[in-house]
């Protein structure tokens, strides 16, 4: 049996195991190991594969992951959410649907200190929804904007999922993180525009909030300084080159940690945050070494190269193939966690995408945006459930209805990114000088 056939059979068995509920780390490691054994034999395979967990578990670049996760867990306790929302409301509340627009920009600001979409949705369910409802805003819009705004967290740095993508495809973590910034802001602007359009057409959805003086507006600014400070640390440190992503993450989480302590965070809360960070960290590290074992097998089987050749030879324009790949991610995202989905598919899909001539940084942002779309679409749509959890008075079906315009926005955004890759690539190419 040739290596290519072994690769195909191995991948088939892997799909079977994953479908039947075997945890991805074990399924990939087991199939990867058996595959390597069947190609290069037992002693070589054992040594080859056996060293992978330690080798991957001690890569300095991956140490940024717990830092970004920790920031996410501490961000709420640092008490910056209300200040953000207050400032956004006073500065842009005057537009149609102003409170909802303010929520979008406040979630974007919070996303700059937290990489966790669900946490962002949870926090703003508590901070923004009551105020919107108090001002007579449509509850579907109020819930939808919070669930959708949460998704901005994975694009705007810090973002753990972008780090994972960078490590798996061996791209620069700094470039990926910098590249996420503009698409995050563009997504936020498109959300804001659709809200303004909807509220302008139907004022009952949400009226403008006016009456703030310039003095009140200026007074709301200092409250956002901690957020700006953390953004500056994480963002500028990386492309000014004075800190590695891990160091930037460490300084960012240190600042958020101090702010959380000043905000009255209790020892018990810190302990829980650290526990949860440790759990999520080990999940990601385990997935990485498990998938890398499978990738090693794929390398021996030369399957990704063959798949890439096949995809490139398809008689369609690359953009059609790309749309099919994105549709595949939408379907897969209905049944699987975003990180697992990315790690499981990238070893095979990524070489094909590069073979089609797409930029690796561009694809990273696109695929992470796809993962975020899955967070607001049924049947899982975890962000919607999180909003329902914090606001039990809003029925889940209303939240899913409220999310519909934002889902359309996301499709428009993705189409924009497909048509104009420079939206994504401009900043990293300019700031990091290729």
């Amino acid at each position: 049996m040739d290596e290519y056939t072994i690769g195909l059979i191995g991948t088939g068995v892997l799909i079977f195991l994953v479908l039947f509920g075997v945890r991805v780390v074990y399924a990939t490691a087991a199939i990867g190991f058996l595959g390597v054994v069947s190609i290069i034999g037992w002693p070589g395979a054992g040594i080859n594969v056996g060293m992978i967990p330690y080798a991957k578990g001690s890569i300095y670049g991956l140490s940024v992951i717990p830092m970004f996760i920790l920031i996410g867990f501490l961000a709420y306790h640092a008490g910056m959410t209300r200040a953000l929302f207050d400032a956004a409301k006073k500065w842009i509340g005057w537009v149609p649907g102003g409170m909802a627009v303010a929520t979008v920009f406040a979630t974007a600001g919070f996303a700059a200190v937290s990489g966790a979409s669900t946490a962002t949705a949870a926090v703003f369910s508590r901070v923004a929804i009551p105020e919107m409802l108090k001002h007579g805003y449509d509850r579907r819009l109020a819930a939808g904007v919070v669930a959708a705004g949460g998704t901005l967290a994975s694009l705007i740095p810090p973002s753990a999922i972008l780090v994972i993508y960078a490590i798996i495809v061996e791209e620069s973590v700094g470039r990926l993180l910098v590249a996420g910034f503009v698409p995050g802001v563009v997504s936020a602007i498109i959300y804001a525009l659709i809200i303004i359009g909807m509220a302008w057409y139907n004022p009952a959805l949400g009226r403008p909030i006016t009456g703030f003086t310039w003095g009140e507006r200026m007074k709301s600014v200092p409250g956002t300084f901690p957020v700006v400070f953390v953004i500056c640390i994480i963002f500028f440190s990386m492309y000014a080159g004075w800190a590695t992503p891990t160091e930037a993450g460490a300084v960012g989480s240190f600042v958020v940690f101090i702010m959380a302590l000043m905000g009255g965070m209790k020892w018990h809360t810190l302990k829980e945050a650290l526990h949860e960070t440790a759990k999520l960290t080990v999940v990601i590290f385990s997935l990485i070494w498990g998938v890398i074992i499978y990738v090693r097998f794929m390398g021996f089987a030369e399957l990704p190269a063959a798949f890439a050749e096949w995809v490139v030879a398809l008689p369609f324009p690359p953009v059609v193939t790309m749309i099919c790949i994105l549709a595949f991610y939408v379907v897969l995202g209905m049944f699987m966690d975003a990180i697992g989905m990315l790690l499981l598919t990238l070893p095979v899909v990524y070489p094909a995408v590069i073979g089609l001539g797409y930029d690796p940084i561009w694809f990273g942002i696109i695929v992470v945006k796809m993962c975020e779309v899955c967070l607001i679409t049924p049947p899982i749509g975890l962000n919607c459930y999180v909003v329902a959890g914090v606001r039990p008075d809003i029925p889940l079906q209303d939240i899913f209805k409220g999310i519909t315009p934002f889902f359309i926005c996301d499709l428009i955004t993705l189409a924009l990114f497909l048509a104009f890759p420079q939206i994504i690539l401009w900043l990293p190419n300019t700031m990091l000088n290729n």
Partner: protein
Amino acid sequence: MSNPTGGETLATLDRQLAKFEDLLNIVAAFFILALMFFGAAQVISRKLLNYPLWGYIDIVEIGMVTFAFLAISSCQRLGGHIRMEILVRRLSGRSMWIFEFIGVVVALAIMLVLVWYAFDAFMRALQLGDSTIDRELVTWPSKMLVPFAFTVLIARLMLQIWGYWRLILHPDAKPIAVPLLADVIEQAQKEIKDTFGDDAPGPVQGGNS
């Protein structure tokens, strides 16, 4: 319940191992906090004092093995490792336990292989006096943590095999030492609790948690 299914010993072993796993989780959490302070100290020391901490990257690489591996078993206990549940969710009773059992057997098989070679790598590092490049720190304590964490995981997987086997024999018995499937509502509730801590609101509407 008075237990004709032999669950008492399993439950005792589960509790004892869980205590140890929680301890390892605390160690991992401590090292994450330490990395935060260490990374911040490195930036301040290097940029403000022009005095980079010697061997910073070596120390991080040696230390990060703690949070990369030590909590692996507690995560397995809680069913935290990622998987696709679409088909398992449709099963119930004995057929579900059989699939869960097979999944854990696959896990045990690969972990037995990996623990062997991870131990081998540790022994080589110990015998050869392997060290890091910059600060020349010995790597064997760090490499030892991998087979150690995998051994604890193997113990956990064996308990789960026992737990699932017991449920295959007695599908209606109370599940012991096995993680239960969490639905999306329960997942959402956990995300909310993780975000707000003690400040979290009550159960999600329509929730069954």
